[in-house]
Symmetry: C2
Subunit: 271 residues, 2 copies
């Protein structure tokens, strides 16, 4: 998907919501455990109920790998279901991969070509030649970890290097990489005030913002400091939406939570 297609979808749906499909078999409604593939059954119901309210879905691969072959099959079924039934939806493999060049190429092929995701999250620690193989794919995005939403973000990401925090150095240096126009960045919402500084370095890039709601971030603040002329934001919510209810009405409850966020987004977009 091109960035323009993503922006068009945002304008049309009046939403820049991304729903995180982090499916834990212990947290889904018990009646789904009787299904052949409970994880896919859960995802399908969530997607059917929420696809008009969000612009993106983001399965975190850890939750699928934890179930081995069956988990991997559920991931394949989920991305295939999205690509077949909702090709306008933007898809993110939250995989946080990154390796030496020829190995990163294998990951890029797996997520972009074989699974058919629009984007994948990548860790920056191994530098340019670990990220560029992902950037080489046309109309695909590489979402680089910059400032994450967890406490450990302050262990290394905010240390000072060359007169600025490491995550800002990651932003600055990555702009010089080949096909850097295919980059987006993960920026945690728990530090909304940092977004103003971040926008000075990367005014035009899309930011994937986790941690609104459950992890304490505030939607208004994130938009105030992070939004640009092309919106430039994908706000992710996972647990707050998909586990809104653990009963028969789980999909309906998820839609209600998604709608709450979408309405707030529509107001912000109309301002």
């Amino acid at each position: 998907m091109t960035t323009k297609q993503l922006i068009d979808q945002i304008r049309k749906k009046q939403s820049f919501l991304c729903i995180g499909l982090d499916v834990d078999i212990n947290k889904i409604p018990k009646h789904l455990l009787e299904e052949d593939d409970p994880i896919f059954a859960f995802n399908k119901a969530i997607i059917d109920a929420t696809h008009h309210l969000c612009v993106a879905y983001k399965p975190n691969t850890a939750f699928y790998e934890a179930y081995g072959i069956k988990g991997w099959q559920a991931l394949e079924k989920t991305i295939n279901y999205l690509n077949e039934n909702h090709p306008e939806i933007y898809t993110i493999a939250d995989a946080k991969r990154g390796d030496i060049g020829n190995t990163s190429s294998m990951y890029a092929k797996a997520f972009f070509e074989d699974l058919g995701f629009d984007s994948v999250t990548v860790a920056p620690y191994m530098g340019k030649d670990s990220v560029e193989p992902f950037l080489a794919f046309q109309d695909k995005h590489t979402i680089l970890l910059a400032l994450t939403s967890n406490q450990g973000a302050f262990d290394f990401q905010t240390l000072s290097v060359n007169g600025q925090e490491l995550y800002k150095e990651v932003l600055s240096i990555s702009k010089s990489w080949k096909n850097s126009e295919n980059l987006m960045y993960v920026v945690g919402a728990t530090k909304a005030e940092f977004l103003a500084d971040i926008r000075k370095i990367i005014p035009n890039s899309f930011l994937l913002v986790p941690g609104v709601g459950a992890q304490g971030g505030n939607l208004q603040d994130v938009c105030k400091y992070g939004m640009n002329d092309s919106v430039g934001l994908l706000i992710n919510s996972s647990r707050g939406i998909i586990y809104a209810s653990q009963n028969l009405d789980f999909a309906e409850a998820a839609a209600k939570k998604a709608e709450d966020l979408q309405s707030q987004m529509a107001v912000i977009l109309s301002q």
Copy 2:
């Protein structure tokens, strides 16, 4: 596996060789493509021919994920084959994972419990709470990326923070994490001279050293600067061994290459 069991194996086999099972279907002998599972058939032949010469095998997960479900099955069959037939061998899932706490727990469960690996490689960028869930597993090791062997290592890892390079800060800070005795570190062999400094920070930890041979590292130099009283080194070779020949004699040729390295290691261990 405990660290002591690994050291005992090293002493017994007079080897600290790790063989990287980075299987690219385009590089394996053509006759194997007729097998039901060419990747596993290749790995099994390599393992059968080399298990007495090495102490560890390290499949890089990217090469398996690139083949989807079939790749994941080949990875499962490979680790099961190793655990059933060669339980004394140390196994490393070279996955370079790392995520927020509850997500890292899912990855740790996947690699340590479900797949049964002895260790997994983890990226440090997201800090303490992204690594500690891996460290919580008893008799399992978490191998943290410190200084990698690729060119991109110089993009961020060697930047100066708090008066020392970032990778040294990673080494220093990680020592304070809970269950840090379960840590090992990835240190690229292309910078053998850095090992003396590294040993000042982590004198006792095991180092996984990629890049001897193909990537230019020198075994003697690595041992001179990196070895400690408990050996403390696992030297990895992947392509140099497993693709020594692409003909019917590929396993024999791999064993010959592995034996070359093992003999050099035996000489070093006897000094």
